[in-house]
């Protein structure tokens, strides 16, 4: 499902462009740099996956686009996020509100806690129509029911009047999708949309996102820790580790020929690449040994060095920089895995 057209990087076809994004959090232990210079571009109509373990900064990156980072603790310290010809980071709060839920929407990991437990689900969808389309109650209700039907809820008229605890987890995520897609956004950000769901439901939700994507001509960013889940539907992949992008590339290239040892490890952690894991039964996978480094005390060299099977001396002393190695393809490693002469397994 890869895009066949050769990409060009004029802003006309660019859905969103993130340039050198830095996000810091104030913690008890000091300033924590959660995102350290992240850049990527997404073409119009593409589906992009940001992949990484928890703590990699992928969710913070997504929240930064929406500017939903808790102001009390987090701060976007520098960077640019270009959407629709303007830098989102320069917009005032009023303009941002116009944009959220309208041109850019987001769905979250926990469909249970992401819906207001005291509000009928129909009203939670209707709220978006009333906010952005300025329609009256009756019209909002009509549009909401239509939207609930579109995301595959049976008997949407009845569901409209139900509360979140009365419907299943999969249905709740469908409601979240209905909320997000109500105003036909140009960009949908899905933060681990299937992680909290049953394996059998996961595929359905991804299919739904995919269907609505082609119908609405929107671009999609999926945040995930599990490459396998999204393998079938993504066009382009950004791999993140310890707040940085370590590899980017078209999905097929990344899967067939990962260049960064971390990407390779992530792929090896996926059961039967290319197939969605629809069953709970998983074969024994290669796990990535070790843990993400403490962002408060980052090593001098490569952040992945300690867990890397290919690490050399230089890796612990000097941090590699991002190198462009092809069309929209780049990698941050001293020893690109594709350059066979340079890698020695430990």
């Amino acid at each position: 499902m890869m895009k066949s057209n050769i990409p060009n990087s004029t802003d006309l076809t660019c859905a969103i462009k993130v340039v050198d994004l830095h996000v810091d959090f104030a913690t008890a232990g000091g300033v924590l740099p959660a995102v350290r210079g992240v850049s990527f571009e997404l073409e119009q109509g593409e589906t992009l996956a940001i992949v990484g373990e928890s703590g990699s900064g992928k969710s913070v990156t997504a929240l930064s686009i929406m500017q939903l980072i808790a102001k009390r603790t987090g701060r976007i310290s520098s960077g640019e996020i270009v959407f629709d010809g303007q830098d989102l980071l320069q917009l005032d709060e009023h303009k941002l509100r116009e944009m959220r839920g309208n041109a850019i929407s987001m769905i979250f990991q926990e469909p249970m806690s992401s819906l207001n437990p005291l509000m009928k689900v129909g009203h939670q969808v209707g709220e978006v129509f009333r906010r952005h389309l300025k329609v009256d109650r009756a019209e909002a209700k009509r549009l909401s029911i239509e939207m609930l039907r579109k995301v595959g809820l049976s008997a949407p008229e009845r569901r409209y009047n139900e509360f979140p605890h009365q419907i299943s987890g999969g249905m709740r995520q469908r409601v979240m999708i209905a909320i997000a897609l109500a105003c036909r956004p140009q960009l949908l950000i899905a933060d681990e949309p299937t992680t909290a769901l049953d394996v059998t439901i996961q595929g359905q939700i991804l299919d739904l996102i995919q269907d609505l994507k082609s119908e609405n001509e929107m671009s999609v960013i999926i945040i995930t820790h599990d490459l396998g889940v999204v393998a079938e539907i993504v066009d382009y992949v950004v791999v993140m580790y310890a707040g940085q992008v370590v590899e980017t590339g078209y999905a097929r290239e990344i899967f067939e020929q990962p260049r960064h040892p971390y990407t390779k490890a992530l792929i090896n952690a996926v059961p039967k690449l290319g197939l969605r894991t629809r069953t709970k039964q998983r074969t024994r996978l290669e796990e990535i040994v070790g843990t993400v480094p403490n962002l408060l005390a980052l090593p001098a060299g490569c952040a992945f060095c300690e867990r890397c099977d290919y690490a050399q001396e230089i890796c612990s002393t000097s941090a590699p920089s991002m190198e462009v190695v092809g069309a929209r393809r780049s990698v941050r490693c001293h020893f690109d895995l594709t350059k066979k002469d340079r890698h020695h397994e430990r």
């Binding site: 104030a26 232990g29 703590g55 900064g57 969710s59 913070v60 603790t73 987090g74």
Partner: protein
């Protein structure tokens, strides 16, 4: 987040300091107090405003208010200590009985506990006062018998959860007695929460003693109890306001100390309530 953890320690430090100072004041009362709180009465010095020889002024009988406030710490602290020891013993014992005996005893005790929880402590204390009559000793009894419900619940819950654990079963099969299991397994686990409850309970008991003594149901004159002093000062409020000011400050500061100490201990022992420095949700 950082602010919060400092704040938790601030509570502990600040509250702890106040409590220690009040305790020292109570112990060293005869040394600190310039006069005897009861017998140094001189009608010639009646109702002298603060200043000079009498830093906090004198009362109707010419007694030094400062000396009476210092000695009052003894009564308030005894109230805190005695009532919380009584409440803790009752609460832990009933909790153990309910947890171990189960069935009828469990139902009975938990029913009683729920009733105790469903009635304000002051109402129960008043009922006991009504039965026993006014007086400081009766007040001790009333406050010592009425605030054990939380301790009882926690103890029972701990027994029930420990009953299921393998090491307790193992200890039992090895022939350890119930008593030794109780003291080695249950007690260490409930120590923290019980301490917090007792500290916060002390604050409540000191406030209640003051209130009931103020109503005339507790310490009777000339006993230097803060609540009792406020009670006899009431009619003189507009004439000799200092009689109402200083004992009130003493109660306020002491209760504040116990409350802050209790909050601080809770935050220390139960990191969850401090909202432990988590980066959850931001990743």
């Amino acid at each position: 987040m950082m602010l919060k953890s400092i704040f938790a320690h601030k509570n502990l430090m600040f509250g702890g300091t106040i409590v220690v100072l009040v305790v020292l004041m109570a112990i060293a009362a005869p040394l600190l107090a310039p006069f005897d709180p009861v017998f140094d009465a001189d009608l010639m010095n009646s109702e002298m405003p603060p200043g000079g020889e009498f830093l906090f002024g004198t009362d109707t009988n010419g007694r030094d208010v400062l000396s009476r406030v210092i000695h009052g710490a003894r009564i308030s602290l005894s109230v805190g200590l005695v009532t919380q020891i009584l409440n803790t013993i009752i609460g832990v014992s009933l909790g153990l009985v309910a947890g171990y005996m189960g069935r009828f005893w469990d139902d009975l005790i938990m029913g009683l506990t729920n009733i105790m929880l469903s009635i304000p402590v002051i109402v129960f204390a008043l009922a006991i006062m009504a039965a026993l009559g006014p007086g400081l000793i009766n007040l001790f009894i009333a406050l010592g018998l009425t605030n054990w419900a939380y301790t009882c619940r926690i103890t029972r819950a701990q027994v029930l959860s420990d009953k299921k654990k393998d090491y307790v079963k193992a200890a039992k099969s090895l022939g350890y007695s119930r008593a030794s299991i109780m003291f080695t397994q249950i007690m260490p686990n409930i120590l923290g929460p019980v301490l917090v409850i007792a500290t916060l309970g002390s604050a409540e008991a000191i406030l209640l003693e003051a209130a009931l003594s103020f109503l005339g149901l507790g310490a009777q004159p000339p006993t230097p109890s803060w609540g009792g002093m406020l009670s006899s000062a009431r009619d003189l409020l507009f004439v000799a306001p200092w009689l109402s000011i200083f004992p009130g400050i003493a109660i306020f500061v002491t209760v504040l100390g116990f409350n802050m100490l209790g909050d601080g201990l809770r935050d220390l022992l139960d990191p969850k309530s401090v909202g432990a420095t988590k980066l959850g949700g931001v990743r």
